[in-house]
Amino acid sequence: MADTTPNFDLLAGEFGRRPRAAVFLYPADDAVYDEWVDDGPVAEAVVDGLDQFVEYGALGGYAAFTLAESEPFVADDGGAEYDDATKAAFVDAFEAYTERHPELCGARGLHYGVAGGFDGGGGFSADELDELAFSTNCRMVVGTASEDAARVEAFTKQELGHALVSYRHLAETSVLVENGSHMHEHDTGVVYPSGEVSPMAVTYHDSHAAHGPCGNGRLHFRGYNPNYTDCTKMAVKRTAEAVFGGEG
């Protein structure tokens, strides 16, 4: 553990207007920070994603921060295996790291680990109102192992979306999602006519993108589109309204 308390740097955002959300990026090591966080695709994806929600009216404001000086949070065997179980292990490792630093993760928002050892993302399921970045210290991780900037950006936005959408409340208040697990948050993603997949449907282009009230039935995959669908934006808006009582 580091001797001194790590400091966050403000990356972007205006936090004053509600509803609002904070995102804290925790690079796993210096290499990840240099390549993916410091003016890199992950940081850019977080800011662009939050800007999209602000522009739509789902968020009033946000603040995004980066942790420049970091101790590695990934266990020694991180990335040795490359399967779903290992992705969950990254979530465990990141949780352990944040719990060693309550002065950091006590803040409300998405505490977002950025690792190099796996491709994809994961976290504690934000499937309850009290598991959201709007109200608690929601924790997610994203992996950069693919070395594909567009794919990493897409996964970064997918996990950000998970942290801002509550399927359970949507089931009660909207037609977007009828019932089910957080997997229905993937239903808000589509494959655009161009063949590009929206963030919430990445790796689900042949399943969740094709069904649900937001699906358009197109299954061809021809790359990644950085834009959330209006369906995803509406899901964030409805969730924020639920948390903040419509007042923000």
Binding site: T5, F15, A88
Partner: protein, 250 residues
Amino acid sequence: MSDDPVSVTRRDVVRTGGVLGGSSLLGVVGTASAGTTTRVVEVAAEFAVDAPEDVRLRTLHVDGAPPYRVATDDGLLVSDPYGPLTAADRSLLDDAAFVVRDAVGVAASGDRLATTLTARDETVRRLPRRLAPDYRAAYAVRLAAPLDVRVPSVTRVGEAARVTLGSDRYRVPPGETLTLERPERTVTVERRTVREADGASGLAADTGDPAALADVPPAVETGTAELHTAVTPVVRVRNLGRLTVEHGRR
């Protein structure tokens, strides 16, 4: 591991056919046919967890590429270029006459391919509560203590899969899915506790940019507790039949 895994008996068996909604559009860029076919059987387990209505379990989800995508209508199996299959796995996929995929997503060995899957005990830390259509774990409950579970053995008999679990044997023809509800187990799972925060921001005053961080409110405090409860394992074995193997490229 149950106390006596060999002696446990099935409580229910359900056979269903045609459960896969095939698609001709797998959405994997730049696939190249290897020109080989193989018989594919998928094995997975999910767990029904008993929990009171007001108890929230600690659940994890993971997102990423599956090992491969299947379109049964077109008879295709396409390995995902970003998925977990190694070059050796892909060679095995090309060469094997019979492939069993263990996709429980909680096994120590992950969802590697094998020419046969032999009955064995797996120590797991997470229990999938629901499977996605491609047998990926949609989300999983985290256990407070590891649990040993038994994975069935699967071998080929002609075009069918022979499944052995404990003392029970089943035959699963191509296109059919075998669902086995296993005896209830008692486990200890993690659950979430929630308490409203009452203080100032959880951030230390001297971290980062205080002016910018000052408005970030403290989080609702969450903690972890344990819940002793019953779980019912459900094992699913799906015989996809003979498929043409292709490998996706980035």
